[in-house]
Symmetry: C2
Subunit: 405 residues, 2 copies
């Protein structure tokens, strides 16, 4: 197996650091627009299976040429979702396996954005699923932490824990703080604005997919391992598009524990038009307001040393257990920033995203997982994934909740 | 009397439109950095007492040269407070009367900004008050609506209504809405950020002037004439510096009815550093975040046609009446945007600011008001001002409140 990781940012660098401890692959090329970033990621590892390269992720031609030149067999997309389609297309052309951690972008319904879906997350990829399947080629999409591990939990719930799932709701929350800043997001503000200000999507059996206004259905969820209660709201996310394709869950939601403060910040940015990517002119200079917001905030990848706390991703499943009695279970994965910084030198949110595609690549290398088409993580058996995650030193947890609450 | 108005923005243009209906002056020159704006203000009036000119308000030399060239006897500063000192200095040099509607800027205390004053509003002007008085020359400072009419109300309260004032609190609120915008401030966002994010100043007998954190002492004030309750908070404003110099009020405050939404917006802008005037670099361009915020919002001077509602400025006075019994009185002035647009073609907030210096200039022209030095509106008799304001067609009001509440 020769892995090509496209993107040497926070997640791409952490993927390299995690993979370096595993023997399952022969070679890993990490490529970035800025080759020095890729070289830095390789230099820290002292492992001659790794090499750096330059790539323009916005060009399918450039990505396909790099695949051909390196002989890569598996491509992991670790850049932001604007670049899904060129990388995905390059993999089809080069006939290699494709993995990503976020899917092709959505576009709101032009007239009724807060009721109906327009172009959904992943639609562009699923549109060519038949071609991938016919070619016997695999695209494993949404294979980070969320989407990713949350989808594996859905498979595990259906196969091993529940006879009937009334709702599968992803719940994601953290108690991370960053010393020395009034406000310092732990993840890309550009991406956070994109996902939080798009209309959230919900799935219901019979009704299909539909949308709501941003920040709908606020709910306080009590996260485990000392994180405690955090206000969560509906956010557009891939799991809601993936889980209904391969499980019988009758309702699927995604709620993100943004907390009151972050919701207030995003609401104000939107109200003032500061979330916009359309340039405005200021004293002769043309700038995108969203880029100005990002420029005013610290780069989250550099904040690991100042961060304290834990981040949690998980799936809250409600329905009937295998015994036919009501059951409510939260399946989760927690990373403590102090641990990920000490062990890997990568902050918790980035590290938690990065470990999952490495586990998946190992399952593909060992042929425990195999398939063809455009498939989500819930299309594969869950137990081998969950066992291997634990074997990597990062166990997951189960919390039984009161099914009558 | 030859009036020179420096600044042909919203307020300067409204000053010209109001003055055009009055016979008390011989000539009015309106000057702007952008001469076309001044020419537009003159063109709408069809009155040969008016002329347009070009001026650089940041240069005392340029302003003084324009005074000499035009033979102006009275200069009204209608640009933003960054330009107070060059215009004020030019008037001293040219030996003419100076008026403004905002005073020289403050600087927070370097170590304890939320407890102690640093450089206060108007300090630079009061520092040379003796020179102005010795020269027999008048600077009438803070002569808009607030500061301005609110200070006239303080004089009226002390002379005619109260034997003892325990607190004179300016309260300013509105129910203006702007159709077609999620968020559209009715006044310059640059200036609003400046005054609202500076530490608010309070005066107390015995303690003198001191400061608090922004948005302190929130209070819901019930505004008259259908505006209703609005959340008000402490804001740095000139009245607090002026009223104690010429009245015996034992406590002086300024609370602005920003409302919860505006306070939230300003808090978020500050938290993210988007209020800053220090440039950031975005894709090679250097821009001030505060300028980007302003560029994302509509120009308030252009919103009159889309605005609905009323704006109110007033002074809430508490203490003992002339009869020695507890008294609580709100003295106020309300402008309905529908009226000011129909009557003058200027939106309510801008028009309400502009009428007061015109009334003051008429009182100076007729020698009802006279004086020398750097004086606030409360240094002059209030009744002639209030009567003339009513004669201009814009009456003020009095509302008695429960003194035990």
């Amino acid at each position: 197996m020769h892995i090509l990781v496209v993107g040497a940012g926070g997640v791409g660098s952490a993927v390299a650091a995690i993979a370096a401890r595993r023997p399952f692959f022969d070679r890993l090329t990490i490529a970035d627009h800025e080759v020095a970033r890729a070289e830095r990621a390789v230099a820290t590892l002292d492992d001659d299976r790794f090499q750096a390269a330059q790539v323009d992720a916005s060009s399918a031609d450039d990505v396909a040429a790099l695949i051909a030149r390196t002989g890569a067999t598996h491509v992991l997309n670790a850049v932001d979702p604007r670049f899904v389609m060129p990388i995905f297309t390059a993999c089809a052309r080069a006939d290699v396996t494709y993995l990503d951690m976020a899917m092709s972008l959505s576009r709101p319904h032009p007239e009724r954005p807060h009721e109906l879906t327009g172009v959904k997350l992943g639609d562009e990829q699923f549109a060519v699923a038949d071609e991938w399947e016919a070619a016997g080629r695999l695209a494993l999409v949404g294979m980070g932490i969320e989407p990713g591990l949350a989808d594996v939990f859905a498979r595990h719930a259906e196969d091993d824990l529940f006879s009937e799932i009334s709702e599968a709701g992803v719940r994601d929350g953290a108690n991370l703080t960053v010393a020395g800043y009034d406000f310092a997001p732990s993840f890309s503000i550009w991406t956070t604005i994109e996902e939080c200000l798009n209309p959230p999507v919900i799935y219901e059996e019979g009704r299909g997919w539909f949308t709501t206004p941003p920040f709908s259905e606020p709910e306080v969820f009590d996260f485990p391992e000392g994180i405690g209660p955090v206000e969560c709201v509906n956010v557009e996310h891939e799991e809601v598009l993936l889980i209904p394709r391969w499980t019988g869950a009758r309702r699927v939601t995604f709620k993100y524990g943004l907390g009151k403060e972050f919701i207030e910040v995003l609401t104000v940015l939107h109200k003032l038009g500061l979330d916009s990517t359309e340039p405005v002119t200021v004293k002769g200079a043309s700038v995108s307001p969203r880029d100005v917001v990002a420029a005013c905030l610290p780069d989250p990848a550099t904040l690991g040393d100042r961060m304290t706390g834990k981040t949690c991703a998980g799936l809250w499943v409600r329905g009937l257990g295998k015994d036919g009695r009501p059951r409510s279970t939260y399946l989760y994965h927690v990373v403590d920033n102090a641990w990920s910084m000490a062990e890997y030198g990568h902050q918790a949110v980035v590290w938690q995203t990065a470990i999952n595609p490495v586990v998946a690549l190992e399952l593909l290398a060992t042929r425990v997982w195999s398939g063809a088409g455009v498939l989500g993580p819930e299309a594969f058996p869950a137990t081998p994934f969950l066992d291997l995650l634990t074997a990597y030193g990062s166990p997951w947890g189960v919390k039984e909740l009161d099914p009558s609450a």
